[in-house]
């Protein structure tokens, strides 16, 4: 039985030009969706069907894009949650974090909470689906993977380690159908009060190169992060746990 897969897409932002584009992780979510469901993949966007970026997604070979029509000020989460409740989806794919808007990375978590579905975060690939379970590869740092098994239905946020999106072709993108449905009118009350400003560069800790030889540098660049100095505090009292964190922050000169 084919599984119903939904990929959620948003309007991305090019890091250099700031121009609208198909978001990197979202387009990877579409790519993975196409691998799992082919053109049966349902691609959903909450926003305006006039948005030109949707054509860039559609150019990946989507016959149609479902658009939950809503104002920019409306809460996309409400639209999407309503839509997912009405569709009997097996897998919902999202990016880890949007490139525009609040960009909080909360969308998959809030959806999973509202739907009562499990969430798998930072997925690199979905290897296999059978008997109501999916084998999922999670992306860990330095190219490592962890395989987990998840019961359908679930929500997956797609990591940058997933297969890159295929080229977007202009013609099919132009001709794809925008399937408009009514979205929510609930205002995103939190965001209304926000104002956007260009981010200031965050201060970075100076990287002190300790390695004396090329071999050392190579090791530093490739070795797994060795925990070692950390410790797990499970049985201590809240007082002791807080003290440990406080000490660490002072030691790291985060607070003085």
């Amino acid at each position: 039985m084919p599984h119903k897969v939904i990929s959620l897409i948003s309007v991305g932002r090019h890091p250099q030009s700031g121009r609208s584009r198909r978001a990197d992780q979202d387009s990877r979510a579409v790519e993975l969706g196409l691998k799992l469901a082919g053109t049966d993949l349902d691609v959903v966007h909450a926003g305006s069907s006039q948005e030109p970026v949707l054509r860039q997604y559609a150019g990946m070979g989507l016959p149609k894009v479902t658009v939950l029509e809503q104002d920019e000020s409306a809460d996309a989460l409400v639209s999407i949650a309503d839509y997912l409740k009405s569709e009997k989806a097996d897998i919902v794919l999202t990016g880890v974090r949007a490139e525009s808007g609040e960009s909080s990375g909360m969308t998959p978590y809030i959806l999973s909470e509202q739907l009562g579905w499990p969430i798998v975060a930072r997925v690199a690939d979905i290897v296999d689906i059978k008997e109501g379970e999916a084998q999922v590869l999670l992306a860990l740092p330095r190219g490592q993977r962890r395989q987990v098994t998840v019961k359908l239905p679930f929500i997956a946020s797609i990591d940058n380690a997933a297969e890159a999106a295929r080229q977007s072709a202009f013609g099919p993108g132009l001709r794809a159908k925008m399937d408009s449905q009514k979205g929510s009118t609930v205002e995103d009350s939190v965001r209304v009060d926000w104002s956007e400003a260009p981010a200031k560069a965050r201060p970075k800790r100076l990287k002190i190169v300790k390695a004396k030889t090329a071999a050392d540098r190579f090791k530093a660049a490739t070795a797994k992060p060795q925990g070692g100095s950390g410790k797990v505090m499970k049985n201590e009292s809240a007082q002791e746990q807080a003290q440990a964190i406080f000490d660490l922050l002072i030691e790291e000169k985060v607070i003085r």
Binding site: H14, G61, Q167, G171, P172, L174
Partner: protein, 637 residues
């Protein structure tokens, strides 16, 4: 005698069969898309185009041009007279003599065709083409003998049945090739299709010494973007493919073919013929695409070309250098066809190979192929004190910087050029961050949507300002601005504006005395013609004159001027990077090394990048502006 009538009947029957075949051929071309052509004016212009323009190209090979004049001219003349003498039975000795004369001319020509075919060069197709000179000889001999009685030399041969039978066989073989074969796809098809191709050519501006090199825009509202099936070509493009004589001059000039990449322009055109007529390439008797066997290609007018007829790598191997088009005696437009098919792959299938998709995405998102921040476009000129149009509004010369702005090697060329202009007190300004990629790469990679968008936005920017000239160091941008933007320039932003390559402009400055230069004291210098400056825009002289004004005697490469070999950098070829046996740039550098030159003068940042990518030891590569800037005469104060 009973069978006296046989020759005349055979002539008429073969002529009729030929006409039927020709009509069938016409119906094959009509499967293509409509394209407006003035049919009558075209037909009237055809003889002139044949005698002047086509012959101008054939004349490069004197042996072949004379042979062809004798054979073709003799045939046309003799065919008319054959009808008069042997079908309409005009019994005048003088006409018969004229016929014999025409046939003798043709026989001489056919003999030289035969001689060339004894040991044919690799570029020529074999197969039925090897038969052709024999058929030509049989035709002329047969009709000479047949006409002798009418000329009063022999008594009427009507007595001999055997004679008539032999002559009839000759008629069937000779006229079968010439008339029947012409209509039904034999080698002589080239004469019939070629004549009509000249009449209905898609780029009629090319005739009479003109130049037409800008690609035609895609109608973005069309059902299918680019060419998917042979029937998606314009009808006169299909006709053009049919005109091919398989002389292989294109193959001999093609840099991709020489590099062992899977492209052979001749085979490509023949595959298009297979596509328009339907069938396989099993009868193709020329050189294959390097590394690909002949006989596996299959196609039809309504079948997707890249699904069995031509492989995608073949289309992406082309550097769009136009050497094939320049060399083609039938004036076939190979590059148009290749880009048409690329458009389908990119805009409909999203299958631009290798870095193609990344580059296109960068161009769309940042207006430059490297994906750099658009706001950093003018960083190279931080120390150049250049005026920016946004503030200056009006200038004499607008310097179109192009994407070389992001590349440190190209920036050296830009700086050298700016220094020269300052030295000559040129009133110059740049667009700064308002400039965008010209769209050259996007268009050659088949993404005409992005090209059109860039062209329109660039034109909108240009339209806000006043300037007399646009000068650029990049021949690719030069070509777009000069030849391709006009299709989108509805507001006339470039109307009355002179678009110049920097070598042309510098040459004007030097010749007018605005730039004073010392003599060059280095070693031997050779000059590499960039395709987009030379073949695309006909500028061969200015760079050479500049070098001569430095006292340089150019050691010309064997392939220079209109026959210059590509550096391998055009048409997005370095981006799609189709593997071959050699690199085109290496071959070009070898050309340069053979002249013994220590310095290769170039007029293009792309050529500079490609040629400098060749491993040392090799001659030094410098843009002409870099050479000039070192020779600036010191002013005495």
């Amino acid at each position: 005698m009973v069978i006296d009538w046989l020759p005349s009947v055979l002539i008429v029957v073969l002529l009729a069969l030929g006409v039927i075949g020709a009509l069938r051929r016409v119906s094959l071309w009509r499967a293509g898309q409509p394209e407006k052509v003035n049919l009558i004016a075209g037909l009237l212009a055809m003889p002139g185009r044949y005698l002047k323009d086509l012959h101008h190209v054939v004349e490069r090979d004197k042996y072949m041009s004379r042979t062809h004049v004798a054979t073709g001219g003799g045939f046309v003349l003799s065919m008319v007279l054959v009808l008069i003498v042997h079908v309409f039975n005009v019994q005048q000795q003088i006409v018969a003599w004229a016929l014999i004369g025409a046939l003798l001319i043709m026989l001489t020509g056919a003999f030289f065709v035969f001689k060339r075919r004894l040991n044919p060069p690799e570029r020529l197709s074999k197969g039925p083409w090897m038969r052709l000179p024999k058929s030509l000889i049989i035709y002329s001999l047969t009709f000479i003998v047949l006409t002798l009685p009418a000329a009063g030399i022999l008594p009427d041969a009507s007595g001999s049945v055997l004679m008539i039978a032999v002559l009839s066989v000759g008629i069937v073989i000779g006229l079968g090739e010439l008339l029947f074969g012409m209509g039904w796809g034999g080698p002589m098809k080239h004469a019939f299709a070629g004549a009509l191709h000249l009449a209905f050519h898609r780029r009629s501006e090319r005739f009479g010494g003109g130049r037409s090199t800008g690609l035609k825009p895609v109608n973005l509202d069309g059902d299918v973007l680019g060419v998917a099936k042979p029937s998606d070509f314009k009808w006169n493009q299909l006709l053009g493919f049919d005109a091919c004589v398989q002389c292989g001059k294109c193959q001999a000039m093609c840099p991709a073919f020489a590099a062992g990449q899977p492209l052979n322009p001749k085979k490509l055109i023949q595959d298009m013929v297979v596509g328009l007529a339907g069938g396989t390439d099993a009868n193709y008797a020329g050189s294959p695409y390097p590394g690909k066997e002949v006989g596996n290609a299959k196609g039809g007018p309504n079948e997707i070309i890249t699904a069995g007829l031509v492989s995608q790598e073949t289309l992406w191997s082309c550097t769009t250098c136009r050497a094939c088009v320049e060399e083609c005696p039938m004036m076939i437009e190979h590059v148009d066809a290749i880009v048409d098919m690329r458009r389908f792959l990119t805009m409909e299938k999203g299958e631009t190979p290798n870095k193609g998709s990344e580059v296109l995405e960068n161009i769309i998102a940042t207006d430059n192929p490297g994906g750099y921040a658009p706001g950093s476009r003018t960083n190279w000129a931080a120390d150049q004190n250049l005026a920016v149009m946004k503030e200056k509004k009006e200038t004499d010369v607008l310097f179109w910087v192009s994407d070389g702005a992001f590349d440190m090697r190209s920036q050296r060329i830009l700086r050298a050029f700016v220094k020269l202009m300052k030295h000559a007190n040129v009133d110059v300004a740049i667009l700064g961050d308002e400039e965008r990629d010209s769209g050259d790469v996007a268009r050659r990679l088949g993404d005409d949507a992005t090209f059109q968008s860039l062209a329109q936005r660039n034109l909108a920017t240009l339209g806000q300002y006043k300037f007399k000239k646009i000068v650029t160091t990049d021949p690719h941008a030069y070509h777009c601005l000069r030849n391709e933007y006009a299709d989108f320039d509805k507001e006339g932003a470039l109307e009355g504006v002179e678009v110049l390559h920097h070598t042309t402009f510098l040459n004007q400055l030097v010749q007018s005395g605005a730039l004073k230069l010392d003599a060059f004291k280095g070693g031997k210098v050779t000059y590499h013609d960039p395709c987009y400056l030379g073949r695309y825009n006909g500028e061969y002289e200015a760079p050479r004159e500049l070098l001569r004004s430095l006292g340089i005697e150019i050691a010309e490469m064997e392939r220079s001027g209109f026959r210059s070999r590509c550096c391998g950098g055009g048409g997005g070829a370095p981006i799609t990077d189709i593997p071959g046996e050699r690199r085109i740039a290496d071959m070009r550098m070898e050309d340069a090394s053979t002249t013994g030159a220590e310095l290769v003068a170039v007029g293009c940042q792309q050529c500079t990048a490609m040629l400098e990518g060749v491993v040392e030891p090799r001659p030094v590569v410098k843009d002409i502006s870099e050479i000039l800037v070192d020779q600036l005469a010191e002013e005495v104060h």
